[in-house]
């Protein structure tokens, strides 16, 4: 029983991170019908920005509330700028081109970031993994029996931050003018432009928002798993993408549910079956969902015009 509970906690903690990264995929896809494969690598860049900030603040400041807020702020604003630049120079010029072109550029950006960051010149961090500083002072909050089930403060904080960011996003998309504009652009960006919506600005803002979200997710991930490396984005990005597809890509609550499910499925496969099956079952789960509900759990299948 206690083991089940521990697995549940582990799975939710992993799923929370996937969810935040998956939200970025879903937002960009929702607006542009573009799978932004560079999303995971933007997350990685955000983590390194947070890493640099944490070190600039020094040991003492890291543990204060304002220190943590500053670390998140620098990483999220920095990534928003990076997202803007990527959108402006890599995707916007290709907007009227076939969708495949943008997809290839996205993969190119992804590799440029993840391999560029392995260089060891100037500010680039080099290929070796590094330990992320303990930004939140770890302490155990909830223990069953003799450390049978352990919950740490940062797990709870991560979960709350993640839920908060998701709720905020849901509010933004469905209750604000900006959200309305986003949905209009998503529906048909040419018509939206004719209606006086500044399409380019809305798309740029969507990219910035999704990149900032990625930075936040990345920091929570780094706090959870303590290791940062230039290739981390590829791995987490792929898992989050799968989660977004399971939930129905383009759907905000779907991304969250898909990610939590994926985290739990992985956890239970490793915990109760064989650990080597982790990825096989995760991707098998994806295939199963797509077979039964091709649009994903929460998605709708749009009729294709032939």
């Amino acid at each position: 029983m206690s083991q089940l509970l521990q697995h549940l906690i582990n799975g939710l903690a992993a799923g929370t991170i996937y969810a935040l990264v998956a939200l970025g995929y879903t937002m960009v896809y929702g607006v542009l019908k573009l799978i932004n494969f560079a999303h995971g690598d933007v997350m990685m860049v955000g983590v390194y920005m947070g890493y640099a900030t944490a070190f600039a603040l020094g040991r003492q400041a890291q543990h204060s509330l304002w220190g943590v807020v500053l670390i998140f702020a620098v990483a999220m604003v920095g990534c928003a700028l990076l997202g803007f630049l990527i959108e402006r120079f890599a995707y916007r010029p290709l907007r009227e081109k076939p969708r495949l072109t943008a997809l290839i550029t996205a993969i190119g950006i992804s590799f440029a970031l993840s391999y560029g960051f392995q260089l060891d010149i100037g500010f680039l961090p080099g290929a070796s993994p590094r330990a992320f500083p303990e930004v939140i002072t770890p302490s155990e909050w909830f223990i069953v029996g003799d450390r049978d089930v352990v919950v740490w403060n940062w797990q709870v904080i991560s979960f709350l931050i993640a839920v908060g960011l998701m709720a905020g996003l849901q509010f933004l998309v469905y209750r604000t003018r900006f959200g309305k504009a986003m949905r209009a652009v998503s529906f048909d960006h040419r018509t939206a432009a004719l209606m006086g919506i500044p399409t380019d600005r809305i798309i740029a803002l969507t990219f910035m928002l999704s990149s900032a979200l990625a930075a936040g997710a990345g920091l929570l991930y780094a706090i959870k798993d303590t290791s940062v490396s230039p290739l981390m984005g590829l791995y987490v990005g792929l898992k989050a993408f799968v989660a977004a597809v399971i939930g129905g890509i383009g759907n905000v609550p779907g991304a969250v549910v898909g990610a939590l499910l994926l985290g739990l499925v992985e956890e239970f496969v490793v915990g109760y079956a064989a650990s080597t099956w982790r990825d096989a079952v995760a991707f098998g789960f994806l295939i199963l969902v797509l077979l039964v509900k091709p649009g994903g759990l929460f998605g709708r299948v749009a009729a294709e015009k032939v």
Binding site: Q3, Q6, H7, N10, G11, A13, A14, S128, P129, R130, A131, P138, R147, D148, V150, W152, Y221, K224, D225, T226, S227, S229, L231, M232, Y235, E266, E267, F268, V269, V270, G271, Y272, S275, T276, R278, D279
Partner: protein, 403 residues
């Protein structure tokens, strides 16, 4: 007698070269940074050796991704050759090492071997650290019938390339045996769980032997879990392991993953020691593992803390030659490889390939700084390994385990 003139010329050239390098006692393999230039200069210009020197070849990664490995090895080799020359050389002749840089690339290593054999007419080749480069070299050396000794390639297939290929380090599976013995006899553990990297042949090889030996010695493996290189969340595996209440966890992976595994194990309340192999041997381990990795054990080739007199002397000599740098395992293995080669050259009736080969094959109970070396029928070193404990952010010597 027509050959007399060129031979005289060659002898003169060598003499001139020797005079030139007088301030540099070890010949081309002198001080650390200076050695690269003479290595390449020597490669091209000097004619094949005359009668009063014996030329050894060395291929190593002096630049590229594994440069630290190659430079350490070269420094160790240089020290051994310097000592041998100071003691009068071999058969009344001085030893010279011709070093080529392979830029950490197997294809460059193979080319360097060809050059050493055809151009420099070396009697023996030392190298490489990386098993992939050694495999490329072994093919060429075997075909030409020139003996080759790799100081530190642990992949079992390297010496399977032919009967001219030797190594002075143990092979990967041996470390599984060492840890099993240490866990059972020194730590007195009865129940151990295993967490292996199922993307790495190294990790799987170590696990197999560990599991087999540990069970043979009466221990019990409570759980075998695996992860993939690059994972960062091992909580599921560790939670499953925790349920089986082991007294230790064997994690024969690389330092980049092991550090995080240690942290997450402690986080989940697993306080038992972790154990591993030489893949842990990096400064990075202490950064990634932090305080969580303290009190864990891993097997390695050599420890600078080894109280043995031989090791102490080696460290002092090495420091004197290399600006006070403490020799790592690779320097020690390079030193041992060169000394095994020199010893074999002394014993061999002449310096032809088959004679040297036979002499190396007879190496028995040779006192190396990284353990006593006896070569078995498969030309692998049968030797002891050391067990190190992580303490106060560094590894400290615990014990030596013999096969």
């Amino acid at each position: 007698m027509r050959r007399l003139a060129p031979m005289l010329l060659a002898a003169l050239a060598v003499l001139a070269a020797a005079c030139e390098k007088k301030p540099q006692p070890t010949g081309e393999a002198g001080g650390a940074p200076a050695a690269q230039a003479p290595a390449t200069a020597q490669g091209g210009g000097t004619p094949p050796a005359g009668d009063d020197v014996i030329v050894l070849g060395e291929v190593g990664a002096l630049t590229g991704g594994q440069a630290t490995f190659g430079i350490s090895t070269r420094n160790g080799v240089a020290l051994a050759v310097k000592e041998a020359n100071a003691a009068g050389g071999v058969k009344g002749k001085k030893l010279v090492v011709r070093v080529y840089d392979d830029q950490s690339k197997p294809e460059e290593a193979a080319q360097a071997v060809t050059r050493l054999i055809t151009q420099d007419k070396v009697v023996l080749i030392l190298g490489e650290v990386a098993s992939s480069s050694s495999l490329a070299m072994a093919e060429k050396a075997q075909a030409a019938g020139v003996p080759m000794i790799t100081p530190s390639s642990t992949n079992p297939t390297v010496t399977e390339k032919g009967d001219n290929i030797f190594r002075v380090c143990f092979i990967d599976p041996f470390q599984g045996f060492v840890m099993a013995k240490f866990a059972r006899e020194n730590l007195k553990l009865n129940k151990v769980a295993v967490l292996q990297d199922n993307k790495s042949a190294y990790s799987i090889g170590l696990t197999e032997v560990f599991r087999q030996k540990f069970t043979e010695m009466g221990g019990k493996i409570t759980a075998t879990e695996s992860y993939s290189q690059g994972d960062t969340d091992y909580r599921a595996q560790l939670t499953a392991i925790k349920k089986t209440q082991p007294e230790g966890i064997y994690v024969p992976g690389y330092y980049s993953e092991v550090g995080i595994i240690a942290r997450q194990a402690r986080e989940l309340g697993l306080k038992v020691p972790l154990m591993g192999g030489d893949g842990w041997d990096s400064e990075k381990l202490f950064e990634l593992g932090g305080s969580a990795i303290e009190g864990s054990y891993f097997s390695n080739h050599y420890s600078p803390d080894n109280p043995d007199e031989r090791v102490k002397k080696f460290i002092a000599d090495y420091k004197a030659d290399n600006n006070g740098a403490v020799p790592d395992a690779l320097a020690a293995l390079g030193y041992d490889a060169a000394r095994v080669a020199i010893e074999a050259l002394k014993r061999a009736p002449d310096t032809s390939g088959p004679a040297v080969r036979a002499a190396i094959a007879q190496t028995k109970d040779f006192p190396g700084v990284a353990g006593n070396i006896t070569l078995d029928a498969k030309r692998n070193a049968v030797k002891s390994a050391v067990v190190l404990k992580v303490q106060d952010g560094k590894s400290t010597y615990v014990t030596t385990i013999s096969p």
